[in-house]
C-alpha cells in the first residue's frame, strides 16, 4: 500500500521550471533514496511534500486520500516529518525539552514532565538510540544531535520521515549507526525518504532509488542490488564522471610551508596541543577528524585569523607572522570552511565578492579608488576559468547555487599569485560535477608545485585527495601517514580516539 | 514598476498644478481691500494649548477680546523651544500678507520674530512676554515688580504675627525664603517688587534671597527652601520656573506656606496666595492695539493698573479677614492712581522702604500680637 503518492508535480520558480510533472510514490515501511545533483529539484519536491512550497500543478495523496498541504504543520499532522541538514535545536535545552517543544503533554496548564520523559525514554529504548533525555544538546556530538532530530519526528508520530543530506556531517562510524537506525525504523513500519548525493550509502540502505535531473524524473524503479555507483552517477549527472579521485603527486619538492609548536587555549580549554607539520611543494596534506577536534582552530591559526598561544610559521623558509591580511598577502590563500558566513558576502555582487582579499591590489585599487573596469575583467576571468554558472557578474552572490559559490571562492583564491592553498570543506553540500571540478582544480594547483592544506569532514574526500594525511583528535595529531597505508575503517578508529598515537617519526619522514 | 512611475508622475503633476495655481489667491494684501467697513485680521500663535496654564490663559484672552472687539483671527500652535519652527510659522503668516497684526505669545520668540520682521518691514508684530527692538515689533509684558508686590504686602502682614489664628506661624522671628532662577534684570525686578511689598508694611522681616542658577532645577530649589524653613522661614516663594515644584514640596514636607507665580503650581492647601501675571490681559491689550490702531513699536510694560498683574486669592483654603483685603485694595488703588511706584532693582529697596511705609493698622489690620 502506498502511504504517499505525488502526481504530476510541477513547480515553476521565476525563470526556471524546478519540477516538471514529477511522480513519486512511497510504500509503507520503505526506504526511498532520492538522488540528484544540487538544483535537480529533490529539495523542492520534498519541500512541497512538507508544505514549505506549494505546487503549481499536481496532486498529493496520503493513504490514497487527496490532501492539501499548505504549511509544515499540515504535514506534521499527517505524520510527515522532515529532518533538515541544519539542525533546529536549542543548544541550551535538554534533549527532552528539545523533543517536546511545541507538543508538550499537558497536565492542566503545566507540562507533564513525567509523561514526556517516559515517552521519550520509551522511543529511545525502542530504536536503540542510546541517549539520555536529560543531557543538554550542547554537549552532544553532531551524530547524536541528528538522532535527537529524528526522535523529534518520531515523538510526533512520524509515519514518513524525510532526511535531508543526513550523512553530510557524520563520521564513517556514525554513518553506519544512522543506517542501522534507519533499518530499525523501517522494521517498525516507518517510511523514509532520504535526500542525498552520497551514492555508497544509498546503495547500502535504500529499498528503491529515484533519480531526478533538472526537475525531471529520470528513473524511480532502481533496485540497489541491480546497479552500481558508476551507473547512478551517470544517471544523476547525465554523463559519466571520474569517481576515482586520487592522483599521485608527481613533483614533490622541498618544504614550502611549515607549522611548529602550535597550541591554542580557548576559555581555558586546550583546543590544539603542540601541532607540527610540514607541507612540501607539490603536495596535498589533508586533515581527517571528527568535527570539533580542533580543525577550526587549526585553520584560523594558519591563516592568521586567530592568535595562538604559540606558533611558528615558515613560508619558503621565512618566518610568517601577522594577521589575516599579512598571511593573505604573503600568498597563503584561504577557502574557508563555511562558504556563506566566511567565504562570501551573499548580499553583494559577484564583482564585489571576487575581489575580496584582492581589494587593495594594484589592479583593483589605485589611489584609494576602486578600478571598476579591471574588477569587472577580473571577475569575468574568474567566472570563465572556473566555469561559474551565472547570468552575469552583477548578480548577488546569494543567487548562485552552492557549487557555483564555491567555484567563485576557489577562483578568487587561485586567480592571483599564491604559495599555499588552505582549503576547508571544499565540496560540502555541493553536487557531484561541481565537486569533481573543484577537486580537479586543487590537483592542478598542486601540480604547479604549490602547497595544499586540505581539511574536510568528508573522510572519502580527504582520503582520496591527500598525498599525506594527518588525523586530528582532541586537538592533537594522532596519526600522520600516507593514506594508502591505512584503510578508512582504521582511520575512523583514530578519528574517534579508539586507537592511540603510533610513533610516526615526523621529522624523519618529512625531511626525506 | 510602470505603476510606480505613473504614481510619481501623477504626484509631480499635482504638485505642479498647485505650484502654478495658488499664488494669485494670496496676493491680496489687506490694504487693497475696498473701502468701507474693513475687518481687522489677526494671526495668533502660542505654545500648545491644553496646558491648563500659560497658553490656555492666553487663549482665553483672545476669546475675551473677541467679545469686546470686532476682528477675525487665525491661530496656530508652536513649541517655543523650537526657534526654527517658530520662525517658519511666523514667516508663513507674514508671507500671507493679509494680517493687520501677528500676535505671538511666549518667551524666546524674539529672535525668530526679529528675523521675520527684518524681511517684512510693513508687517506689524506684537509679542507677549518676549522683548526685542524693531520698528515693526510691539512688545507687551508685565512690570515684574508689580506682579509680586501685593503678595509681598500680604506676606508682610502675615509675618507681623497678628493672624496666627488664620495662618499658623512656627516662630516669632519673621523670615521669608525667596529663590530666583537667574540673576538677570527681570528676575531682580520681580524679587525687589516682592521684597518692597513685604517691607512696605513690615520693615523688620528678614528675606533670605537665593539664586538657584536655572529654571529647571527643583532639586536645588527644594534644598535651599528646606534649609530656610529649618532656619525658621514660614513663607517660601520664588520665581524659578520648574523650581517652584521643589519649593512647594519643601513647604508640604515641613509645613510652611508657599507663594507661586502661576496658578498651575498653586496648591490650595499650602499656598498663601499667587503672584499673578494675567496673560489673557496681555493678549487683550495686544488685540486692542491692533484693532484700535494703537500699534506702537517698543516695549510696553503693564502692571496692576491695567489688571495685568494681580494677587490671586481664588480658591485658597485660607480665609483672610476683611481688613486685610481692604488693606490690599487700598495698596492696589494707590498704585493704580500712580501714588505708589514700585522699585525695579534690589539696590533701590533700602531707600524705597525708607521713603514709603504703610501703616496697615489704619485698616484695622493687626500688626503683631
Amino acid at each position: 500500500m502506498q502511504i504517499v503518492s505525488m502526481h504530476n508535480i510541477t513547480k515553476i520558480f521565476p525563470g526556471t521550471k524546478a519540477l516538471d510533472s514529477v511522480n513519486l510514490s512511497l510504500g509503507e515501511g520503505e526506504i526511498l533514496s532520492l538522488l540528484g545533483e544540487n538544483g535537480a529539484g529533490k529539495s523542492t519536491l520534498m519541500n512541497i511534500l512538507y508544505g514549505i512550497h506549494h505546487p503549481d500543478e499536481g496532486e498529493i495523496f496520503f493513504r490514497e486520500k487527496q490532501v492539501d498541504i499548505r504549511k509544515p504543520m499540515d504535514a506534521i499532522h499527517l505524520g510527515i516529518c522532515m529532518v533538515h541538514q541544519h539542525f533546529m535545536l536549542v543548544p541550551a535545552f535538554s534533549i527532552l525539552d528539545n523533543i517536546i517543544a511545541g507538543a508538550e503533554p499537558k497536565f492542566g496548564p503545566l507540562i507533564d514532565r513525567k509523561k514526556a520523559y517516559d515517552r521519550v525514554k520509551g522511543l529511545i529504548d525502542k530504536f536503540h538510540f542510546n541517549l539520555d533525555p536529560n543531557v543538554k544538546v550542547s554537549e552532544l556530538s553532531v551524530g547524536e544531535q541528528q538522532r535527537v532530530e529524528i526522535l523529534k519526528a518520531l515523538y510526533r508520530d512520524a509515519k514518513v520521515l524525510i532526511l535531508d543530506e543526513p550523512t553530510a556531517v557524520l563520521t564513517p562510524g556514525e554513518v553506519d549507526d544512522l543506517l542501522e537506525m534507519m533499518r530499525n525504523l523501517r522494521r517498525s513500519g516507518t517510511s523514509i525518504i532520504i535526500i542525498t548525493h552520497k551514492l555508497r550509502e544509498t546503495l547500502a540502505v535504500a529499498d528503491r532509488i529515484m533519480v531526478l535531473r533538472n526537475g525531471v524524473l529520470i528513473r524511480d524503479d532502481i533496485k540497489p542490488e541491480d546497479t552500481n555507483i558508476e551507473e547512478l552517477a551517470h544517471l544523476m549527472v547525465g554523463h559519466s564522471i571520474n569517481l576515482d579521485l586520487h592522483r599521485e603527486a608527481e613533483h614533490v619538492g622541498e618544504v614550502g610551508f611549515e607549522v611548529r609548536d602550535l597550541s591554542i587555549t580557548e576559555n581555558g580549554v586546550q583546543k590544539l596541543n603542540n601541532i607540527n607539520f610540514k607541507i612540501h611543494k607539490g603536495e596535498i596534506v589533508g586533515v581527517a577528524g571528527v568535527e570539533g577536534n580542533g580543525q577550526t582552530q587549526l585553520l584560523e591559526a594558519i591563516t592568521g585569523l586567530a592568535s595562538p598561544d604559540s606558533m611558528t610559521v615558515m613560508l619558503n623558509g621565512e618566518p610568517l607572522t601577522g594577521d589575516a591580511y599579512s598571511f593573505l598577502h604573503r600568498g597563503v590563500v584561504h577557502v574557508p570552511e563555511d562558504r556563506l558566513s566566511m567565504g562570501l558576502v551573499p548580499d553583494l555582487s559577484l564583482k564585489d565578492n571576487a575581489i575580496l582579499g584582492h581589494h587593495d591590489k594594484p589592479f583593483a585599487a589605485k589611489h584609494g579608488l576602486v578600478q571598476k573596469e579591471n574588477i569587472a575583467a577580473f571577475t569575468e576571468k574568474c567566472i570563465r576559468e572556473f566555469n561559474v554558472k551565472t547570468p552575469n557578474s552583477d548578480v548577488l552572490a546569494r543567487a548562485l547555487s552552492g557549487g557555483n559559490q564555491q567555484k567563485l571562492i576557489m577562483a578568487r583564491a587561485l586567480s592571483e599569485e599564491s604559495e599555499v592553498l588552505v582549503v576547508a570543506q571544499p565540496t560540502r553540500g555541493i553536487d557531484v560535477s561541481a565537486s569533481e571540478y573543484i577537486h580537479e582544480q586543487i590537483f592542478q594547483y598542486r601540480d604547479k608545485g604549490k602547497c595544499v592544506f586540505l581539511v574536510s569532514a568528508d573522510l572519502d574526500e580527504v582520503y582520496q585527495m591527500s598525498d599525506r594525511l594527518l588525523v586530528l583528535f582532541n586537538g592533537e595529531i594522532v596519526l600522520e601517514c600516507k593514506p594508502q597505508d591505512y584503510t578508512k575503517e582504521e582511520l575512523g578508529e583514530f578519528m574517534l580516539g579508539a586507537r592511540k598515537k603510533e610513533s610516526i617519526p615526523f621529522a624523519k619522514e618529512a625531511d626525506d | 514598476m510602470k505603476k510606480l512611475v505613473m504614481i510619481v508622475l501623477a504626484l509631480m503633476l499635482t504638485l505642479g498644478v498647485f505650484a502654478c495655481s495658488t499664488p494669485a489667491a494670496n496676493n491680496t494684501p489687506a490694504s487693497n481691500e475696498p473701502e468701507g467697513k474693513k475687518t481687522v485680521k489677526i494671526a495668533y500663535t502660542s505654545g500648545k494649548k491644553g496646558d491648563n496654564g500659560y497658553n490656555d490663559e492666553a487663549w482665553q484672552g483672545l476669546m475675551e477680546a473677541k467679545e469686546m472687539y470686532d476682528f477675525e483671527y487665525v491661530s496656530a500652535e508652536v513649541d517655543n523651544t523650537d526657534p526654527v519652527a517658530t520662525e517658519a510659522l511666523i514667516r508663513g503668516y507674514a508671507e500671507d500678507g493679509v494680517y493687520d497684526a501677528i500676535i505671538s505669545v511666549g518667551t524666546g520668540i524674539d529672535t525668530p520674530t526679529m528675523a521675520v520682521a527684518k524681511d517684512y518691514p510693513d508687517q506689524k508684530f506684537i509679542l507677549i512676554d518676549s522683548y526685542c527692538d524693531a520698528p515693526n515689533i510691539m512688545c507687551i509684558g508685565a512690570i515684574s515688580a508689580e506682579q509680586a508686590f501685593l503678595s509681598g504686602v500680604l506676606s508682610g502682614i502675615i509675618t507681623a504675627g497678628g493672624y496666627t489664628d488664620v495662618v499658623k506661624m512656627s516662630n516669632d522671628t519673621p523670615l521669608i525664603s525667596y529663590c530666583i532662577g537667574m540673576d538677570n534684570p527681570d528676575q531682580r525686578a520681580g524679587a525687589s517688587g516682592y521684597m518692597a511689598g513685604v517691607k512696605y508694611v513690615n520693615p523688620d522681616v528678614e528675606i533670605r534671597y537665593t539664586v538657584i542658577g536655572g529654571f529647571a532645577d527643583p532639586v536645588t530649589a527644594k534644598e535651599v527652601t528646606s534649609n530656610n524653613i529649618a532656619l525658621g522661614a514660614d513663607i517660601c516663594t520664588g520665581n524659578c520656573g520648574a523650581g517652584a515644584l521643589g519649593i512647594l514640596e519643601a513647604c508640604k514636607e515641613n509645613g510652611a506656606y508657599f507663594i507661586s507665580t502661576s496658578p498651575s503650581t498653586t496648591d490650595y492647601d499650602f499656598s498663601l496666595c499667587t503672584s499673578l501675571k494675567l496673560t489673557n490681559v496681555g493678549v487683550r491689550l495686544a488685540v486692542q492695539a491692533a484693532v484700535e490702531n494703537k500699534f506702537e513699536a517698543g516695549t510696553h510694560r503693564n502692571g496692576i493698573a491695567s489688571g495685568y498683574c494681580e494677587i490671586g486669592l481664588d480658591g485658597i483654603a485660607l480665609q483672610y479677614p476683611q481688613e486685610i483685603l481692604d488693606c490690599l485694595e487700598a495698596v492696589r488703588q494707590s498704585i493704580k492712581d500712580g501714588k505708589l511706584v514700585t522699585p525695579d532693582d534690589l539696590t533701590q529697596i533700602d531707600s524705597w522702604v525708607a521713603a514709603n511705609h504703610l501703616d496697615a493698622t489704619q485698616f484695622g489690620v493687626k500688626m503683631g500680637k
Binding site: E57, T303, V370 | V8, A43, A88, R91, T107, D110
Partner: protein, 376 residues
C-alpha cells in the same frame, strides 16, 4: 568612453535599486494612507489636509525654500545615521552629536571674533564637526574595546549632552537679555548666507548636498567604501580576508559624528543664529527615519529628506490655516520607519496581490483540452 564605464550601472543594479525605491515608496505611501485614515477618524478630511500641505509647501519661492530649509537638518542627520548603518552600527547618538555641534558652533561663532566671513564660517563648522567626531569616536572606542552596546551608550550620552547643553544655555553661556535658555547670537561673520531671501534656507543645504555626493562617491568608488560595504554585509567574511571591521567602526563613527555635528553647527549658523536649549532636539531621531526611507543610501537620503521637508513645510501651512493637529506629520515619519524596517510587510502585501492576480489562471490546468481543438 572611459567615463561612461566609470558610472556604468548594470541591469542587475538597476533592478536592485528599483526594488529599494519601491520599498521606500510603498512605505511612504502606506504611511500617508494610514495616517490619512487616522486623520479621518479624528474627524478631519485627510484629502483637505494633504492638499493644503502640498499647496502650502509649493505655493511660492519662499515656501519651496522652506521645504529645503526644513530638509537641511534632516539631510545631515539622515546621512550621519545612514553611513554608520552601512557597517551595521546604530548610531542613535547623532541626536547628542548634533546638539554638541550646535553648541560648539554657537561658542566658536560667538567668541571667535578675529576671523573674516568665509574662514569664520568654515572654522566654526570644522570645530563643531570635530567635536561630534570625537564624541562618536568615544562611542566607537567603548564598543570596540569594551564591547559596549553602541545603542545604549549613545542613548546615555544623548542625555548627558542634553543636560550639558541645557546647563550651559541656562548658566554660563546664557545670553544677557533673553527670556529662555539660549546663548548670545553668533557673530555676523560666522553666519551662513541666505540662499533665498526672506527664507530660512542657507548655503548649509548645499554643504549637505555636497557631503551626500561625497559619501555616495566614497561608498561606490573607493576602497574604503568597498570595505564598508563588505564589513556591513558580512563582518566575518571581511575579517577572513583581512578587512578589519573594528577599524571601519571607528571610521564610520567618525564620519557619522562629524556629519551630525556639522548639521548642528549649520543650524546654529543658519536659522537659529545661536544655541537655544532644545532647538535641535529631535532631528537626530528623525534622521533615523530619513535614513531608512532613503534606503541608507546617501543619494536616497537627499530624496527622503526632501520628502520630509515637504511634509514639515506643509505641516506649517496646515497648522496656520486649519485646526487639524499638525503632529500627524510626526506620525507619518514614525510609520515610515515601521514599514521600511519591516519590509516583509510590503513583500507580503505584494505577494497577496500577486496571488489574487494569479488566482484566475490557476484553473488553467483544468482546461488544457481546448488547445488541441483549435489545432484541428
Amino acid at each position: 568612453m572611459n567615463k561612461k564605464k566609470f558610472f556604468h550601472i548594470s541591469r542587475e543594479q538597476w533592478k536592485r535599486a528599483l526594488n529599494k525605491v519601491m520599498v521606500s515608496a510603498v512605505s511612504f505611501i502606506a504611511s500617508i494612507v494610514i495616517v490619512g485614515i487616522v486623520i479621518w477618524i479624528s474627524g478631519y478630511s485627510p484629502i483637505e489636509t494633504y492638499v493644503s500641505m502640498v499647496k502650502g509647501a509649493f505655493r511660492s519661492q519662499t515656501s519651496i525654500a522652506l521645504v529645503f530649509s526644513e530638509a537641511t537638518p534632516l539631510l545631515f542627520t539622515g546621512l550621519a545615521f545612514a553611513i554608520a548603518f552601512r557597517v551595521r552600527l546604530v548610531n542613535v547618538g547623532i541626536e547628542g552629536q548634533m546638539m554638541m555641534g550646535a553648541l560648539v558652533g554657537a561658542i566658536v561663532g560667538h567668541f571667535v571674533t578675529f576671523l573674516p566671513h568665509i574662514p569664520h564660517v568654515f572654522f566654526t563648522m570644522l570645530i563643531a564637526g570635530l567635536t561630534g567626531m570625537v564624541i562618536a569616536l568615544f562611542i566607537g572606542f567603548l564598543k570596540v574595546k569594551l564591547g559596549a552596546n553602541e545603542v545604549i551608550i549613545s542613548m546615555m550620552l544623548n542625555s548627558i549632552f542634553t543636560y550639558i547643553g541645557s546647563y550651559l544655555a541656562n548658566g554660563p553661556l546664557r545670553a544677557k537679555v533673553t527670556g529662555v535658555a539660549q546663548t548670545e547670537i553668533i557673530q555676523e561673520t560666522a553666519l551662513l548666507s541666505k540662499l533665498v531671501p526672506k527664507s530660512q534656507l542657507t548655503t548649509g543645504y548645499l554643504i549637505g548636498l555636497f557631503i551626500a555626493i561625497v559619501l555616495a562617491f566614497i561608498l561606490d568608488q573607493t576602497v574604503l567604501g568597498y570595505k564598508i560595504r563588505i564589513a556591513g554585509n558580512n563582518r566575518i567574511a571581511g575579517e577572513t580576508y583581512g578587512i578589519k571591521a573594528t577599524k571601519l567602526y571607528y571610521i564610520a563613527f567618525m564620519i557619522s559624528g562629524f556629519v551630525a555635528a556639522l548639521g548642528g553647527s549649520i543650524m546654529t549658523q543658519g536659522p537659529i543664529t545661536r544655541f537655544s536649549d532644545g532647538a535641535v532636539a529631535g532631528y537626530g531621531f528623525q534622521g533615523i527615519s530619513v535614513a531608512a526611507l532613503g534606503a541608507y543610501n546617501p543619494l536616497g537620503v537627499i530624496f527622503s529628506s526632501f520628502l520630509y521637508g515637504v511634509l514639515r513645510a506643509g505641516s506649517y501651512t496646515v497648522n496656520r490655516t486649519t485646526n487639524i493637529p499638525y503632529e500627524f506629520v510626526d506620525v507619518i515619519q514614525v510609520m515610515v520607519v515601521v514599514f521600511v524596517s519591516a519590509p516583509q510587510i510590503i513583500f507580503s502585501v505584494k505577494k497577496w496581490f500577486k496571488k489574487r492576480k494569479t488566482a484566475k489562471p490557476k484553473h488553467l490546468p483544468d482546461s488544457p483540452a481546448p488547445a488541441p481543438d483549435q489545432n484541428q
